[in-house]
Amino acid sequence: MNLTLKVWRQKHANDRGTIETYDAKNIPGEASFLEMLDIVNEQIVQSGGEPIHFDHDCREGICGMCSLTINGVPHSKEKGITTCQVHMRKFKDGDTIWIEPFRGKAFPVVRDLVVDRSAFDRIVSAGGYISVRTGSAEDANSLPIPKDSADSSFDAAACIGCGACVAACKNASAMLFVGAKAAHLNLLPQGQPEKDKRVLAMVRQMDSEGFGNCTNHYECEAVCPKQISADVISKLNRDYAVASTKEAFK
């Protein structure tokens, strides 16, 4: 199939950047979205141009490295998958596809479609861990965990930290990511001792990174490739209310 691509090109972080148009010719339907970009890049390189820069790693939908906002929707309008799992058969011959970087002040563009998502790492460093000496593995069932807590924690832990939630949010809010990372640990007995400290530290780091505030539009939930529910945001709000009240009267 033949496609027209409208791609965001930006030479470096301080460049203004602009949309440029490319023709993608003879794209097979079985190619993934990233393979389509590889084909286009080969054509660009052959004609002496600078290839389109984009993030990718595993190309299996599990690492969270690929990004791209496709026709205004992070990871495209296909539900529950990352960009690398989008296949070109989902598009029609002659389509025009807009490809832009994940947008948000806390996600500055490095080059073209590559954005710096290290703000997420700093949020996790602030409290997304459990400080215990792990030693060797415990005996199975020595620490009882209710089935529903284990399930909810596992759902939250499915977050791959790709940043689609921030990219989809009109306010570039990171609440779905922070909610998932906090809920993952807060739901488990091992996470209890540091629960309040964790919530306060992660939310404060999130705010200081320049992410916006949640206005309950649920766009994040709609685009999340791991289909993490906005329940984790509700839980984060509740946990923050409790932790900050305790902090005030401690």
Partner: protein, 249 residues
């Protein structure tokens, strides 16, 4: 004390802290609206019922009650506005550059114009207070029952005889209810009481309450201006009203 002020400051500085303030003050304001629309319905019960209710509101706790409620409402209203403006400013700053080709997946129109519906409602509330509470129009301010009590019922009927006033009420109330259609469900989410299990019920509750409030509030200006409710009685000279009331008894 120092630690407490520090904690309050941190709470205000944080995104979730301000959102919790918006949610709690929003809940107070929704509670007020429910009571307000309930009281308003007494218009249809007649002049005496309405004016008795108004008299009660102005005199319970020896007249202090209404000022306590007004105080709570003003604090809630101001905090709600100050916090949302601060949040909106931060949100604009967090998304400096937007998409050339933008798409919306699930967010409703109402949810995306909260700041604008909210600010229009603010303008409407200021107008409404000058209209029926401060009563800047001497015609409305001077309306009295024969007993000397302020005639609230008559004031409302006469107040809604101007088409432009009715139009502004229609726009103001409609935007208020659009604001609530997103706001009520959001209270639950921000306070952490919403989950996948309860979200559908909460969304329906928010929508239903918004529609009920819209119908309730607009029924009065529309009844007075379009249907002509109460206008027969108002065309009589004020001195005759006592006789009519006497006859009705």
């Amino acid at each position: 004390m120092n630690a407490l002020t520090k904690a309050i400051n941190l709470f205000w500085q944080s995104s979730i802290g301000k959102k919790l303030i918006v949610a709690i003050t929003g809940a107070v304001l929704v509670g007020f609206l429910v009571a307000h629309v309930g009281g308003n319905m007494l218009i249809f019960a007649g002049r005496e019922a309405m004016n008795d209710y108004a008299y009660f509101l102005h005199h319970f706790l020896h007249g202090a009650g209404i000022w306590i409620f007004r105080g709570i409402l003003v604090v809630a209203f101001v905090l709600h506005i100050v916090a949302t403006i601060a949040l909106t400013k931060q949100n604009r700053a967090a998304k400096v550059e937007n998409y050339e080709n933008e798409a919306t997946n699930v967010a409703s129109k109402s949810s995306r114009m909260m700041i604008w519906s909210g600010l229009t409602v603010l303008a409407f509330v200021v107008f409404h207070i000058f209209h029926f509470t401060v009563r800047v129009d001497p015609e409305l301010a001077g309306m009295k029952e024969p007993s000397g009590r302020h005639d609230v019922w008559g004031m409302v009927i006469v107040g809604f005889q101007k088409p432009l006033v009715v139009l502004f009420y229609f726009v103001g109330i409609s935007l208020l209810c659009s604001h609530l259609s997103h706001g009520i469900a959001s209270i639950f989410q921000t306070l952490g009481w919403r989950s996948r299990k309860s979200s559908e019920a909460i969304n329906k509750l928010g929508l239903a309450l918004s529609v009920v409030l819209w119908l309730g509030f607009l029924s009065i200006p529309l009844a007075a201006s379009v249907v002509g409710f109460g206008t027969d009685e108002m065309e009589m000279p004020v001195t005759d009203v006592a006789d009519v009331a006497e006859e009705n008894r």
